[in-house]
């Protein structure tokens, strides 16, 4: 039994477990800001582990490089999306719920 035959299932299982745990976190949390926190590990750790598992299986072939590229794209895109969503939520709440105490010019 080689090291790869142990490492790859462990990486895939970890990646899947992290994704499912984050899905449950999105479901369980009450506030949208709290839900947003679970997008980070789901878009960064999970895909990275699975991409590493694919590279461990296929080496740096076409499949391995594309898997790494997809994981890298998710890693870059996730913070941008999270920031944009949190900004939208903040502006919506500020305009519709919270009143700005400062006088408007």
């Amino acid at each position: 039994m080689s090291a790869g035959s142990i490492v790859v299932p462990v990486l895939v299982a970890l990646g899947v477990a992290i994704e499912l745990a984050c899905c449950l976190g999105v479901l369980v949390m009450d506030d949208a800001f709290d839900k947003l926190h679970f997008l980070g590990p789901a878009a960064i750790v999970g895909p990275l582990l699975i991409a590493i598992a694919i590279v461990a299986t296929e080496s740096f072939s076409q499949s391995g490089v594309k898997a790494l590229l997809t994981a890298a794209l998710l890693i870059v895109a996730s913070p941008v999306l999270t920031h944009a969503t949190a900004r939208a939520l903040y502006i919506r709440r500020r305009d519709h719920i919270e009143q700005d105490p400062r006088p408007r010019p």
């Binding site: 790859v8 299932p9 895939v12 299982a13 990646g15 899947v16 994704e19 499912l20 984050c22 899905c23 449950l24 999105v26 479901l27 949208a32 839900k35 947003l36 679970f38 997008l39 789901a42 878009a43 999970g46 895909p47 699975i50 991409a51 694919i54 299986t57 296929e58 072939s61 076409q62 499949s63 594309k66 898997a67 590229l69 997809t70 794209l73 998710l74 895109a77 996730s78 941008v80 999306l81 944009a84 969503t85 900004r87 939208a88 939520l89 502006i91 919506r92």
Partner: protein
């Protein structure tokens, strides 16, 4: 069924919580659920491509990740201003 296809099948169950959030939550919570579903689908496509040993299928997950970024930004901008 190999390891990759089993993982993809298990991961599909994660869409259920996302669907519940999208159907029951506020509109911003629905956007969070949509983004989580997009991430999940990207990973599922990765696993399916590897499971079926079809390297061109990896392009699907790559394109989905790219479109998810663009779509999410458009939705966030729209929710910020109009809806």
């Amino acid at each position: 069924m190999n390891l990759w296809l089993i993982a993809a099948t298990v991961l599909l169950f994660g869409l259920v919580p996302c669907a519940v959030v999208m159907l029951r939550g506020s509109i911003v919570e629905a956007l969070v659920g949509l983004q989580m579903a997009g991430v999940l689908q990207t990973v599922v496509l990765l696993l399916l491509a590897q499971g079926f040993h079809r390297p061109p299928f990896f392009d699907l997950s790559l394109v989905l990740a790219l479109l998810m970024l663009a779509g999410g930004l458009v939705f966030a901008r729209m929710l910020e201003r109009w809806v």
